[in-house]
């Protein structure tokens, strides 16, 4: 089997806009969650959200390059810039070799709404402008970045709800393993705005703990009352070992397992059996046992039923010893971006030998009490970690990453 490695990573998130800032937030348990006044004005049940600043790309990209990028596309550009610089993928290399892109994204609400507002008001589609269509499609990130970065390899977007970017990495592993591609830019982007979250807010899925925003996301805690939506973008460079060695690229970690499954059950309520199969398939792919996993980055979004079922699935597979945490306690739920960002968070912990705190984990419930979860940071040498991502429709994805050894 071909070895598949990670040679670059980049992040633009609510807990930092580069790797150094993000590592600092993870290490010190700093939350990126706050209140969005627009959501109060718009009558949301919950105004809680990850807080993020849009980057100013004027000095980095031409007008034509910027005009097709929606909010999450801007985040994705910033994250990808950090990742390709780390992986030494300069433009000359990208033009002369096949570098692909597979990114997770599952919405682009604001450009669609703005375009429809113009058409309704003006009754003239030509007044929508040229950038709208390229901002509106789900494939907005891959279509824009492939042009900006002059990419000539595989190029499409994966929409798998909150498992989108985890599946994107899994698909990249398979393409590289098959020998069809050597280098694929992978990741996920997630818009952070009221417009894209209104319908989700209406499902009563979000935390209402508005008096203490940083305490609202509390995965596995007995008193959790819902998730906090969030976003940004995360990029990793997935590459064959041979290509990385040939290029002299830095090798950050090795991707050794991908598992997936579909619950075939309820559209929004997760179950125990589906995620368990995804976990077991990833372990089988990696050829290791549950006891070999040093740390689990759980999907755990802080919803009552989601965390309950994941805790059971994790207990069934790992028992009580393996350290488990949810970085969503700090970031909120990064949805389309979460699969990729949580690989980066976990690699940062692996590189610096700690498990970040599961913030606000104060009292366990019946099932989380059986797991090894801590509200505080713990020192821990991590050789192998596993990361879960689950989404609406019962789509599940699991990735396993190992510290690189020659």
């Amino acid at each position: 089997m071909k070895r598949i490695v990670i040679t670059g990573m980049g992040i633009y998130s609510t807990i930092g806009t580069n790797l150094e800032e993000v590592n600092n937030s993870l290490y010190n348990g700093i939350s990126g969650i706050g209140i969005d006044p627009k959501r109060i004005e718009d009558g949301f049940r919950s105004p809680l959200t990850g807080i993020i600043k849009r980057p100013d790309l004027k000095s980095l990209l031409t007008r034509r390059m910027r005009i097709g990028l929606p909010e999450q596309g801007e985040y994705a550009y910033m994250a990808t810039l950090e990742a390709i610089n780390m992986a030494c993928l300069d433009e000359d290399f990208r033009i002369n070799n096949e570098v692909g892109i597979l990114y997770g994204n599952d919405s682009s609400a604001v450009p669609v709404i703005n375009a429809i507002d113009i058409v309704r008001e003006k009754k003239d589609t030509t007044l929508v402008g040229s950038g709208s269509i390229f901002q509106s499609m789900n494939s907005t990130i891959t279509m824009n970045l492939s042009v900006i970065l002059k990419l000539r390899g595989i190029n499409f977007t994966i929409s798998g709800a909150c498992a989108s970017s985890s599946h994107a990495i899994g698909m990249a592993m398979i393409l590289i393993e098959q020998g069809l591609q050597d280098i694929i830019i992978c990741g996920g982007g997630q818009e952070v705005n009221a417009e894209s979250m209104g319908s989700f807010d209406g499902l009563s899925a979000f935390s209402m703990r508005t008096d203490e925003p940083t305490k609202a996301s509390r995965p596995f805690d007995r008193d959790r009352d819902g998730l906090v939506p969030s976003g940004g973008a995360a990029t990793i460079i997935v590459e064959s070992y041979e290509s990385a060695i040939k290029r002299g690229a830095p090798i950050l970690a090795e991707l050794i397992g991908y598992g997936f499954s579909s619950n075939g059950d309820h559209i929004s309520v997760p179950n125990v059996e589906g995620p368990t199969r995804s976990l077991e398939r990833a372990l089988k792919y990696a050829g290791i046992s549950a006891a070999d996993i040093d740390y689990v980055n759980a999907h755990a979004t802080s919803t009552p039923i989601g965390d309950l079922n994941e805790a059971q699935a994790l207990f069934n597979v790992f028992g009580s010893k393996t350290p488990v945490n949810s970085t969503k306690s700090m970031t909120g739920h990064e949805m389309w971006m979460g699969g990729a960002s949580e690989i980066i968070y976990s690699i940062l912990m692996m590189q610096n030998s700690y498990v970040a705190p599961t913030l606000n984990f104060e009292n366990p419930d019946e099932y989380s009490s059986k797991l090894n979860i801590s509200g505080k940071r713990t020192d821990k040498s991590i050789d192998v970690f596993l990361s879960n991502s689950f989404g609406f429709g019962g789509t599940n994805s699991t990735l396993i990453v190992r510290k690189f050894k020659k």
Binding site: R64, T126, L127, V128, G129, S130
Partner: protein, 83 residues
């Protein structure tokens, strides 16, 4: 609206919104070869004309606009019709 006003407004949006260097602006400048604009940019020029001059451009009218002076002439004619 007098021609000078039209020229001033057009040049201003080309510099500010289309990020064209001021030195490149001249009546004889070709949109494609000199200013580096492409067909997609004309979609946005239509939007700006509606906003700044208050009339709707038919996209087929844009086909004959090659130089900056063609655009000044076109807007001047349309503004007169509207007025």
């Amino acid at each position: 609206m007098i021609r000078e006003e039209i020229i001033q407004k057009v040049n201003a949006f080309l510099i500010e919104e289309f990020e064209i260097d001021e030195e490149q602006i001249s009546p004889e400048a070709n949109f494609k070869d000199d200013l580096g604009l492409e067909s997609l940019d004309f979609v946005d020029i239509v939007v700006v004309i509606e906003r700044d001059f208050g009339f709707k451009v038919k996209s087929e009218d844009m086909i004959n606009i090659r130089k900056l002076s063609d655009l000044y002439d076109y807007i001047e004619r349309q503004v007169k019709v509207t007025e």
